[in-house]
Assembly symmetry: C2
Homo-oligomer: 199 residues x 2
Amino acid sequence: MPNSRRPDETRRSERSRQAILTATRELISEVGYGKVSIEAIAARAGVGKQTIYRWWPSRGAVIFDSFLELSLDAGGEGMALPDTGDLEADLKLVMRATAAEFADPEFERPVRALNAEIVNDPGLAAQYREKLARPVDEAKKARLRSAQRAGQLAADADLDLVLEVLYAPLFQRWLHRSGPLTAEYADALVDAALRAFRP
Amino acid sequence: MPNSRRPDETRRSERSRQAILTATRELISEVGYGKVSIEAIAARAGVGKQTIYRWWPSRGAVIFDSFLELSLDAGGEGMALPDTGDLEADLKLVMRATAAEFADPEFERPVRALNAEIVNDPGLAAQYREKLARPVDEAKKARLRSAQRAGQLAADADLDLVLEVLYAPLFQRWLHRSGPLTAEYADALVDAALRAFRP
């Protein structure tokens, strides 16, 4: 939002922006990724199509921002991971929150719809990696590098591999509904990853 | 196949059965899981519909057997994992083969189509777990239990978690096309899992 606007105008704009992103996620959950139109988003959000096009160049752009917003919300303070100096405690906090999100129908429904599309669409998979997965992964890796400097994680650990060992089991269990997504499970994944990559 | 038949009749039956399963996998790759019909399978395999219904009660049953056959073929000697007494060597052999399969377009295409369906279909996900994933996982766990008895894996390791740490990163990387599926990657996963769950 440009900050040269008057405060109430800025507030109104932010309200519209949030309404648009929320409407987008709701529609993805209800009709699937492929069938969400700018018209339907505008109608659901109670704004004109021109309001959407003022902020986003395309349907794909607003859909991605709606997911990005979800990731930012989930992280609380933007995307940065907590860094109390205790890697195990910080990772357990984050992984428990992640497990809880994926167990929450409101959160997981649009993410599931996106994943169903990604499986068969290499172009969408690439967009997902670049615009959503990579920025989040970079934030996580910043925390892991801090742990490497503190001697809590092997200095030569492949950080992409560390993230995969931490998150992929949770992702697969969620996607295939193959087991419970509990705090205990989140803790067990952190324990396994820390044993695998200890200094 | 009933083994009371004459040898050439048995051979002919087995040829038809294989043609049906191959046709089913080809059609899933081409038109998607949801659109494969018994009629189309029969036409592609060059058999009558009644031949299919003689061996399988439903469309779902023949589709699942076509995937099961793929898993059995991939395993070579049925589903059992090699047990040379060296857990690291055996797991690297199996994980390298798994990585190569998922990197092979002919193998991965029907599996990708199945996964796209599973994401949004809890009933299909349950069938997948029961009929495909569970028998394969049990075969893998038998190998891990042998390693526990040999003192090569922690006696109290949660074997479901061990399998997830081994396979889920490969699965996620394949599904999201987020990195190369190489022999080096397969080895790195085995090394990480063995460090995480060493005695």
